[in-house]
């Protein structure tokens, strides 16, 4: 980032040197640190995925041993969930944008923000240590008694890694909540907040209320393995299903940690790309809270065939239906926002369109699974695998990529290749559907998940899926190329390249260390495009 026109005092080069980055308390730099780390973990997780899909090209388990295969999908799940998707949007875009969007100079606790990154790195290192000292083969769900008694792999180490990373997540959530409550600029009332802030706020609630429970849960497993204590051990009368309750008490809400920030990004992007007030602002805002709260009441839908009481199943099933409603409300509001908008065909829109289709499919197949009688046939099959990839890869990552492109000029001060981004969006969309749609069909036919070998008659669909994964990988590798390129050769970005509304677009790209030179006072609602003409592009 040597040449031209960046403001000399941008946060990127205010203090120089590696130490100034590793000890920074600037939320924007920490966001960049996170960006780099999660990209690495995405690539690692993707590498494991490639291993999975290669094995599944043939029905016989002939490429890897079954042990290795089990480690591959376990580590794929663990890395993608705990080290990529959970921190992805909040810790990068959220970290960068939350303070700016509300007119603050930083998050409430800058030092804690840095600590949270270090915890993430330590947790990740410990987990990687587990990978190299025996791996991990429990599935990302760590089900007991397999994890606590039976598995021969480095479960204890991995559990401690996840435990530590949990605190990183807790601290980020805590920081965001306090920031939203206490750091808003004068005039930035709750109903003037950008919807991205609302959704990150809701996410943070889930983080601080749920994450401690997964922390203690994996700690109990580690203690059971390492210290000989017994919590879930059937030989001592322990109930393995209790572990599942504890695990899903966090891990269901955690799926909303993964999607809510994405929903926030989509709200921002829809408004900016259509230059229009988000349809039903308060419904979209409150639906985030509704998802966060109701999301805590449905975890039992992962236990429908686990020998949980069927009456508990009833309760969890009906609340699962209810939690789908706020997502429906959001989907329709985004669609309605496009109506009579002025829709740009620049690349962020392409990611948004992809998100809308894939998220809807992913969400609706969740409703299949939440239906009590149907879940019995579909659970633990590839139908579930397809469901969650549709939401997490098709939904959350699509949103993340859209957001990353949209705010890239602000974060780096550089414009990227719009054509590159569009190509990548199309590749991802096509590759994604090719990879995961056949899995719905496989799932309905009964192909169990976590299978290293499968009956011959399912090969065609599996090959399709593996080919799709190749296209998908290309789609994800491409941005790596042109975004990196843009850092060195990209045109300098103006303060407001999209002609969008929002405090972040009023300051230079990239911003200065404390974001705003003077105090900010807000006097209009978010997405106030109607009186716009004279304002944009400063």
């Amino acid at each position: 980032m040597s040449d031209v026109s960046q403001p000399r005092n941008s946060y990127l080069d205010a203090p120089y040197g590696l130490a100034s980055w590793l000890l920074t308390k600037d939320h924007k730099r920490i966001a960049m640190l996170y960006l780099i780390s999660i990209t690495i973990f995405f690539a690692i997780g993707g590498l494991f995925a490639a291993g999975i899909r290669l094995e599944l090209l043939t029905p016989q388990g002939d490429l890897w041993t079954s042990d290795l295969y089990n480690k591959l999908f376990t580590l794929h799940g663990v890395v993608m969930i705990f080290f990529f998707l959970v921190p992805s949007i909040p810790a990068t875009l959220g970290n960068f944008l939350m303070p700016i969007m509300i007119g603050a100079k930083d998050l409430a606790f800058p030092r804690i923000n840095l600590i949270s990154w270090y915890l993430y790195i330590i947790g990740a290192t410990v987990t990687l240590a587990a990978v190299f000292t025996g791996g991990l083969d429990t599935g990302w769900t760590f089900y007991t008694p397999y994890s606590s008694v039976s598995s021969q792999t480095a479960v204890t180490t991995a559990a401690i890694g996840v435990f530590i990373t949990g605190f990183s997540s807790i601290l980020t959530g805590l920081n965001f909540i306090v920031t939203t409550h206490r750091m808003r600029a004068p005039g930035m009332t709750w109903f003037r907040l950008p919807l991205f802030v609302w959704s990150n706020y809701a996410t943070s609630l889930v983080m601080i209320l749920g994450t401690p429970v997964i922390a203690i849960t994996v700690l109990l497993v580690a203690a059971e393995r390492a210290l000989g204590l017994g919590f879930f051990d059937p030989a001592r009368g322990g109930d393995p299903v209790l572990f599942q309750h504890l695990f899903w008490f966090y891990s269901h809400p955690a799926v909303y940690i993964m999607i809510l920030p994405g929903m926030g990004v989509i709200s921002e992007l829809v408004a900016a790309m259509a230059r229009k007030q988000v349809f039903g602002y308060s419904f979209v805002a409150f639906s985030s809270l509704a998802i966060a709260i109701l999301g805590f009441l449905v975890w039992g839908h992962h236990l429908f065939v686990s020998s949980q009481s069927i009456y508990a199943g009833l309760v969890f099933s009906i609340i699962t239906m209810l939690v789908a409603i706020p997502s429906a409300v959001k989907t329709f509001n985004w669609t309605a926002t496009l109506y009579r908008g002025s829709i740009s065909w620049q690349s962020p829109t392409w990611w948004v369109v992809g998100f809308m289709g894939l998220f809807t499919i992913g969400g609706l197949t969740g409703v299949f699974l939440g239906t009590l009688g149907l879940n019995i046939h579909l659970t633990d099959t590839y139908f579930v695998v397809a469901h969650f990839h549709y939401i997490m890869v098709g939904g959350a990552i699509m949103a993340y990529m859209g957001g990353l492109h949209f705010w890239w000029p602000k974060m780096t001060g550089r414009m990227f290749s719009d054509a590159g981004s569009k190509t990548s969006a199309v590749l991802v969309f096509v590759g994604f559907n090719l990879t995961f749609f056949p899995q719905f069909v496989l799932g309905f036919m009964g192909m169990p998940r976590r299978y290293h070998a499968y009956p011959d008659e399912w090969q065609v669909l599996n090959v399709l899926s593996s080919c799709g994964a190749g296209v998908l990988a290309l789609g994800y590798a491409l941005p790596l190329v042109y975004l990196t390129y843009s850092l060195f050769r990209g045109a300098a970005a103006p303060a407001n390249p999209w002609g969008a509304k929002g405090l972040e677009w009023t300051i230079p790209s990239p911003p200065t260390t404390y974001n705003f030179e003077a105090e900010v006072r807000v006097d209009e609602p978010a997405y106030n495009y109607k009186s716009t003409r004279e304002v944009h592009v400063g």
Partner: protein, 231 residues
Amino acid sequence: MQGTVSAHDGGHDAHAHNPNLQHHFYSMEQQLEASTLGMWLFLVTEVMFFGGMFLAYLIYRVIYPEAWILGSNHLNVAMGALNTGVLICSSLTMALAVRAAQTSNRGAQIRYLLLTMAFGSVFLIVKYFEYAEKFEHHLVPGRHFDMTLPQAGQQQLFFSIYFMMTGIHAIHMIVGLGLMLVILTMAWRGRFSASYYTPIEMSGLYWHFVDIVWIFLFPLLYLLGAHYSAH
């Protein structure tokens, strides 16, 4: 757009020169409110953290009521009660230490902090003796557990939960003592006064929280079987 950038006071002037005001806050008021909220949120995460263990306790107690009573009968109620008293004393001295900061009384701060730490240490020492006793009686789950006890398996569950909960509580006490050491040095240097005492106040919240956990652990673990032994 919204960024009508203006010079706005926001209480800026009143505290502008307080050396304890961090750059990204506008006022001491805002800084204090942020810390308080942050601390309480942190305590909520602690509630959920211990909550996971309380859930395990609750469920197994529902399934194995008898084993729970048997297990609880092995605990030393007198020591548990003593420790409850000790912790309550430490909470009082902690509250008084914060009060001493509010009234800018450096000597009292130091005195009360030292007392708090003393009580905390007594708690840990008593705990040590309790643990030692459990080791001796083969009540530590695992290979050496006394399998001749009735419902030995289920009692192991009870003791697993007992050791996990009290163990993590004890770790919190140790962390608390470390925290107190930091606060003590700060108090020593006269950092706290009526105009700024956030760190001591926040540490106090933490200390009281750890006390509250024990307030629940004591009846749930120790007193459960007391009326049986009294017969």
